[in-house]
């Protein structure tokens, strides 16, 4: 069936029309022929029945007067009907009376037995047997045999004519079919061609022309309308796209401008920072020199003029020396800070466990004195960083944790969180967040921002062991130079946790 389905609609239409016409014609012709043959047989039967009646009636007188010759003469009139081959009359007792035989017919066989009136067709013959009656009394019987050759010849002729007319009708059907199908198939074929053009070449300007008001016409109109709508939509889309492109271009240029501005500001900022660092370095370096002189000379005075100075003089000299030392410490811190900002980082894979060990070694006396428990819950990773600076970070944080703790049982916990383990401050989705936690005095919320400011101290100068107040500033600087961030969480009176990240690269 597949090849049939793939045939053109034109062939299908013509084919179906011709098939239907052929079947109808064939059936009606066959039915007509059968009916004609049947009615011809009936007509023949009636005709020969009447003939038998007529011959029988005419035979009554010869029969009753026992006149065989006249009987034969009467039957001889059957020669006028060439289809009658044989006629035989019988008297009332069933004896053969008179007969007629067609010239070229030899048989005298009587096929029908005497009895009731009978007719039947057998082979090429019609057999008729009728009784001869007069006034209700049976005078005899007549048997007639007729040839059906004429009937068959007529039927054959009719079949020939019917076949001829069938062929002519079929030819006309094919002719009409091909004309009609053209009318029906043309718009469909056009529609198919247009569809192919649209789907194949993407040409939406294709249109189908149909004046028909039938379903195909509706289909064609619908198709055209659909294409119109698609074209309209395409135009609108094109318009929107152009507008969007313009918008993007505009935004991009604005962004570029902003980026440029930002880059410039950054460069300026960097320049300023650099200048500031340089300035800090120079200033601190230069400031140190006279300070050293003041300190040395105050020592000289204390040593050389010890006997000449009274108690008050000594006190003031000590104060001068203390202030000088403090000033020197401050300048050192400043120098260190500017060095931290200026020096190149020596980034290398660093095992943080070694770093912690190093720091704890340096501080072990202090830790033991304070009785502090240092906890490292799990093995720390190896990261890419400047190990010297990271040692400084951990040393500063641990020093602070040790310093600002007033509890009886002091502890420090050093650890890290991986992505997904920390809370809302997880700024590095792929790396680690390190922390140093203590159960110290904590930091009030209002001071939590200012702890990273240089020389900012929250307590009296000598309280909690003193110091310059620059440690957390160094830590912040180092972390930032590693591309990381530092922040803290603290509950005043309970403890503080410093978190920081390192963006320079995670090794393991």
């Amino acid at each position: 069936m597949r090849p049939l389905r793939d045939l053109s609609i034109r062939v299908k239409l013509t084919g179906s029309l011709v098939a239907v016409v052929s079947i109808v014609l064939l059936l009606s012709t066959v039915a007509g022929l059968i009916e004609q043959h049947r009615s011809a047989k009936t007509a023949m039967m009636n005709q020969f029945s009447v003939l038998a009646d007529a011959l029988g009636d005419a035979s009554i007188t010869p029969l009753v007067f026992d006149d065989v010759d006249t009987g034969a003469e009467v039957l001889a009139s059957a020669r006028l009907e060439p289809n009658i081959l044989f006629v035989q009359t019988f008297d009332a007792n069933g004896n053969r009376f008179a007969s007629y035989q067609a010239p070229d017919f030899a048989s005298q066989e009587v096929v029908l037995p005497p009895g009731e009136d009978q007719f039947f067709f057998e082979g090429e013959f019609l057999h008729v047997s009728k009784s001869i009656d007069q006034d209700g009394a049976t005078m005899g019987r007549i048997y007639l045999r007729a040839s059906m050759k004429d009937l068959y010849a007529t039927t054959r002729h009719k079949i020939f004519l019917a076949t001829l007319s069938l062929l002519i009708c079929l030819f006309i059907a094919i002719l009409l079919g091909s004309l009609l199908q053209r009318e029906i198939a043309r718009p469909i074929l056009e529609l198919a061609a247009a569809t192919k053009k649209v789907s194949g070449e993407g040409d939406f300007s294709a249109r189908v022309h149909s004046n028909a008001g039938d379903e195909i016409g509706v289909l064609c109109d619908g198709f055209n309308t659909m294409l119109d709508q698609i074209q309209q939509r395409d135009r609108e889309l094109e318009k929107h796209r152009a507008h969007l492109e313009e918008l993007v271009r505009e935004r991009t240029s604005r962004l570029e401008a902003q980026t440029e501005e930002l880059t410039e500001s950054n460069a300026q900022l960097e320049r300023s920072n650099q200048e500031l660092d340089d300035f800090a370095y120079i200033v601190s370096h230069d400031l140190k020199e006279p300070l050293r002189g003041i300190s040395r000379y105050s020592s000289f005075i204390a040593e050389d003029y010890a006997g000449k100075l009274d108690e008050a003089g000594h006190e003031k000299l000590e104060t001068l020396q203390r202030l000088c030392l403090r000033q020197e410490n401050l300048i050192d811190s400043l120098l260190h800070y500017s060095r931290v900002g200026r020096a190149e980082l020596a980034i290398a894979p660093t095992d943080l466990n070694d770093v912690i060990e190093q720091v704890l070694d340096m501080m072990h006396i202090t830790l033991e004195e304070q009785g502090i428990e240092v906890r490292v819950p799990r093995h720390l990773p190896t990261v890419a960083c400047d190990s010297v600076r990271i040692v400084e970070v951990f040393r500063n944080l641990i020093t602070n944790a040790v310093k600002y703790n007033d509890k009886a049982e002091k502890w420090i916990e050093i650890g890290f969180q991986q992505h997904g383990e920390s809370g809302g401050n997880d700024l590095n989705p792929t790396g680690f967040v390190f922390y140093v936690r203590d159960n110290g005095i904590g930091i009030r919320e209002k001071h939590q921002e200012s702890v990273f400011r240089i020389f900012k101290r929250l307590h009296a100068r000598d309280k909690y062991g003193g110091g310059t107040g620059a440690g957390l500033t160094f830590v912040k600087k180092i972390v930032e130079r590693h591309g990381g961030k530092i922040w803290l969480e603290s509950t005043y009176g309970e403890g503080t946790t410093f978190y920081f990240t390192l963006e320079k690269g995670i090794v393991a």
Binding site: I60, P62, N95
Partner: protein, 214 residues
């Protein structure tokens, strides 16, 4: 005359008997001459047309007169008020759907005295028992004389064709004769005379080979 008639009967019978041996075994025994003639009354009733009312009472009864000896015996029997035909060919009590009435005139004298009109008057070849010296000719003449101008079919019987022709010419409308050669009864029909007497003999009868039409 009577001798020759008896001889004819014997001959016909013998001839038929001899012939019967060669005939089909199914064929019945040859018919008696009067068996045939009795049956023919019925068929003549159908093959001859009488005027509308030939005589009074003709519409009720089909009247057959027999002049001379009635030779039909059991072939035409009295039946109730009328008679019925019991021939081999036909058994009936009506002709032209009328009751059959047979009137016997034993002698010419009786005929002349008591003749009443009839459809067919059969003039017998033989005289009735007890009537002596009455010839066929006398009966024929009496019949002709008595029925002149009336629509009566006179049926006679002769010994041979010549006699039959002679009778017919003299006025008998149908005259039977026995063909000894063919061993069958034939007849001469005087159609001219019949027409004159307002009788119409139908063509099927006239067309028969056994009928000589005058």
């Amino acid at each position: 005359m009577r001798r020759s008639l008896s001889l004819l009967c014997v001959l016909i019978t013998c001839g038929l008997l001899i012939d019967a041996r060669t005939l089909d075994a199914q064929q019945p025994a040859p018919q008696n001459e009067y068996d045939i003639k009795a049956g023919w009354f019925y068929f003549l009733g159908g093959l001859i047309q009488w005027p509308k009312e030939p005589f009074k009472g003709a519409d009720k009864d089909f009247v057959i007169g027999v002049l001379g000896n009635n030779p039909f015996g059991a072939y035409i029997r009295p039946d109730g008020n009328g008679a019925s035909i019991h021939s081999t060919r036909i058994t009936t009590d009506t002709i032209q759907r009328k009751s059959i009435k047979v009137i016997q005139y034993s002698s010419v004298a009786e005929f002349q005295n008591s003749y009443s009109p009839c459809h067919i008057l059969f003039i017998s070849r033989s005289s009735a028992p007890g009537v002596i010296g009455e010839t066929v000719q006398a009966r024929v003449e009496a019949a002709l004389q008595k029925t002149r101008g009336q629509p009566v079919v006179l049926v006679g019987e002769a010994e041979n064709e010549a006699e039959s022709l002679a009778y017919a010419k003299s006025g008998i409308i149908i005259c039977y004769w026995n063909d000894l050669q063919e061993k069958r009864v034939k007849m001469v029909v005087n159609d001219t005379l019949a027409k004159r007497g307002q009788l119409k003999v139908l063509s099927p009868l006239l067309r028969l080979r056994i009928v000589t039409v005058l």
